[in-house]
Amino acid sequence: MSGPPRPTTAERGAPVPVAGAEPTADAGLTSGADLGPDAGPGSGADLGPDAGPGSGEDPGSDAAAGSGGGWDERCAAVLADVTWRVEQVLAAVAALGEEAAAIAAQAGRAGRLLRRTDLTALRPTVAGVLSEHADLAVGAGVVLAPGALADAPRCIEWWWADQGAGLSQLYVDLDPESAEFYDYTTTDWYRVPERTGHPAVAGPYVDYICTHQYTFTVSVPVSVEGRFAGVAGADILAAQVEQLALPGLSGLGRTAVLVSGTGRVIASNTAGVLPGVPAQRQPGCAELVPAAGPGATPGPLPWTLLTGPA
């Protein structure tokens, strides 16, 4: 838990505040603004694997290509290779969300609230998201805010891809009166877009409701007439992201670890740093410093690449 030894700011280049991550408008995203350090369950305090005592510095410090030169760029490229793919899924999800919003708006013009059956029109789009991103997205759909539907207090329209057999729909207990209903409004992938109005990436977390795997859920807010009406989202298996990241991490030739916005290790090229465990709590991360982070990549994912000494 001791603060890892860090290079001086001068060595690493001028710090770039996370909040100032360039909001490069990405196709389909409602806003390119950052997911914020609070994309995760906790608070901003969870963000940095290096947010240890006295962390006046910033994970994105290398973004402003300071003295690192080629190394910084390589690290930024390795990070962007991964975040880019996930952001493509996010863009597809944003399109799904816009379609859901359009359906709701249409119902509104007809002077009525949305009905469950209206949402079946989204099925082809969901199928498209899942087939187009079959290497990453294993499930996708929309989840509505309580009260947004005329005929159901809560609603999950979520499908996952069966091996070759088309789509299967998720059934969960949505009755708040039930002793154990699935309250999706408390999940990060629902709460964060609701609170911030921005896309979010939740996880990695153990999803025992749908995928039964270690999972990320990317989501975007759906708003109807300026009001939050729910989220559109997709499930991405953490193992797939890890596979995607490992060649790049290994190619760097140093210890390299990809860390989520909440500070959990997503992928590591060394056995000394375990995936899924908060980086801050791993002795193997003590020597590591942020080499690229939010701000070094164009998209909104708050992921950071940590690397060891040469």
């Binding site: 969870d46 729909q169 154990e180 699935y182 899924g276 465990v277 709590r281």
Partner: protein, 262 residues
């Protein structure tokens, strides 16, 4: 309390040439052909009902859709549904508005649960307790190392629900969610699945021997466990989880041994 159980454990000859235990017979010699598939589907459905993912009165999707979802033939699915019907967990109604409906009444009477308890030998109960302690202990230790603030908040919500629970079903569900969420906070899909399997197998029984007066203390055990997880004390968390499961096992054994012989 740990003492008496481990003494019991030690007294058992390990690979005894005794009669084949029924549990072993069941798992070892279970058919693995088409019958196995129906059994798997039935187990998944039972699990969903026990964990409250499928509600009392809820209509299951049409057989063809459900078969497609599980990737099995309609014949296999019907076989699985027949199992659930036999167990009284599903009711099939014909005609308009018909279909298969989940039967999982909230206030299941303990009397119904004596039968499954009677079917388990003390040896099996002890063994299930060992398995549960191993899984819950490992999950608690890892959760203390790996849980973040949000995970702890979720866990505390379920403990509140457990304190507020009034029926056996409510208590069992809140308790199951606590253990499943601890395994999820350990970042382990495998431990999470193990907890889900264990809870659907014996979850109904766990609260059976607990009196109304004892319930707050049992909820308190969960609270102490979550305190240890939050304060990142892995060994303490493991110890508390193991003790908690061992105490439950002891209560169950006690109840089992007091059941009138039949």
């Amino acid at each position: 309390m740990t003492g008496s159980l481990s003494a019991r454990q030690a007294a058992l000859p390990s690979p005894a040439p005794a009669p084949v235990p029924s549990l072993r017979a069941r798992s070892l010699f279970a058919p693995i052909d088409a019958g196995g598939r129906a059994e798997t589907v039935a187990r998944r459905l039972i699990q969903a009902i026990r964990l409250g993912l499928l509600l009392d009165g809820e209509r299951l999707p049409p057989e063809s859709a459900l078969a497609g979802q599980f990737g099995v033939s309609p014949v296999t699915l019907r076989e699985a549904l027949a199992t659930l019907r036999t167990m009284g967990l599903v009711e099939t109604r014909r005609g308009r508005g018909g279909g298969s409906f989940v039967r999982a009444p909230q206030g299941r009477q303990p009397a119904h649960l004596e039968r499954p308890l009677r079917l388990l030998s003390p040896h099996e109960l002890r063994d299930i307790g060992d398995h549960r302690a191993a899984v819950a202990g490992a999950a608690a230790k890892l959760a203390a190392e790996r849980a973040l603030g949000g995970d702890v908040t979720t866990l505390r919500g379920h403990v509140e629900r457990l304190y507020g629970a009034r029926t056996l079903t409510e208590r069992r569900r809140a308790d199951a969610r606590i253990h499943i969420e601890i395994a999820a906070a350990a970042q382990s899909p495998r431990l999470t699945r193990q907890e889900m399997d264990l809870w659907s197998e014996v979850g109904d029984l766990v609260w059976l021997p607990v009196t109304e007066a004892q319930a707050p203390a049992v909820a308190g055990e969960h609270e102490a466990l979550i305190d240890a997880i939050e304060s990142q004390r892995p060994e303490q968390a493991r110890l508390l989880a193991e003790r908690h499961v061992l105490a439950e096992t002891e209560r169950l054994l006690d109840l089992r041994l007091r059941l009138p012989a039949r």
